[in-house]
Amino acid sequence: MSPTNRTVVVTGIGATTPLGGDAASTWEALIAGTSGVKPLEQEWAAEQAVRIAAPIAVEPTEVIPRPQARKLDRSAQFALIAAQEAWKDAGFTDKAGEDSSVDPDRLGAVIASGIGGVTTLLDQYDVLREKGVRRVSPHTVPMLMPNGPSANVGLLVGARAGVHTPVSACASGAEAIGYAIEMIRTGRADVVVAGGTEAAIHPLPIAAFGNMMAMSKNNENPQGASRPYDVARDGFVLGEGAGVVVLESAEHAAKRGARVYAEAVGQGVSADSHDIVQPEPEGRGISHALQNLLDNTDLDPAEIVHVNAHATSTPAGDIAELKALRKVFGDDADHMAVSATKSMTGHLLGGAGGVESVAVVLALYHRVAPPTINVENIDPEAEANADVVRGEARKLPVEGRIAALNDSFGFGGHNVVLAFRTV
């Protein structure tokens, strides 16, 4: 029988983001407080109300050979780049089986995106209308299917224990990592490559999010547009990219002598059942997720010193989350350094949980919390409920076991909180 409550650790990380083409350059830019937001220079942007975004720092076609890239949606390209980096970072030299330190039957992949292959779908519809049925690419279906990035990562590493794609809008990446933790904890797999990806910088999503009044229209000041907790925040800035971690049972990692970044303690999950897009203003659903995390793991609130908040820079959402942290943790919230890295990366939707988990793991590993940039006048409700890391990065306690949370919430009322801890 498989053990059903195994310890899970992080042994590899990878990312490609608006701040850098890998995890190291992304981390360096996060700690330096760098904004990845830029004006949209494309011709189609001129007529949009929102003309800013956080595009990828290194174009995937600079990394993936063109014959392979043209069969992959941009979201799958990001996922493959981040997964390849994480796989190598974990010390694997080849795909499972060919690298004998991992059994393909015990290896999984769980990569999620919020929207899937939206640019492929829309581009191919343009082909259909402009050039006719015969010219629609035969690769369209495997490119646009939401499980495409997960399936391609599964093929890359040779995963046969299961390849999955949980979808929950902007909580998707975190839900993927939570699902992967459970696969290992319950004994279904020894190693799982997990994370999130998104590539939605295209006129239709920008117009749609813009018309929902969800995005910042601060076109005159791109680098100052994503400003969680600031009184002048007016919505999120769309980012793109992917973040991937390699999760592994502690036993499997020890057996092959792998470097361990952190323990993946577990997840807390809930649903608001309040509104299809509006957050529940008091953060009740988020509180429920945080409480589930405490009930389902041995996490001690006293050891939580850092929270990578969901905080997308929307007026209602940013505050609801901080209220929930205060409600559940009480005075323990005083020692939690809260960082909103979306102030720098923009909001990667389904990619956010992946990239921000990489950021949390590195924050614990280096014992430093990234800053929240652009907080010039902090919202009094934010200040009353949380200790927001503003302006510059902040050192975390240098000694003892410390833990950190990564919050992700999605349209539809999905709440996922992931917890990591030093080893």
Partner: protein, 82 residues
Amino acid sequence: MAATQEEIVKGLAEIVNEIAGIPVEDVQLDKSFTDDLDVDSLSMVEVVVAAEERFDVKIPDEDVKNLKTVGDATDYILKHQA
């Protein structure tokens, strides 16, 4: 004006290069699309559509399965081009 065998091979080589990244000089009459040129079944559909446009020929789906090598495709196009 109908294309010659040489022109067709050259055209197919450029198409295969574009789709599968195989160097044009490796695309020879005796080469199999799937076994030698890294053209999978979906990419073969792309090769066929590109060849139809380039050589003004119709290649029905039921004939595609008979086009195993570059030579097969070249002969087919020579015979059926408008």
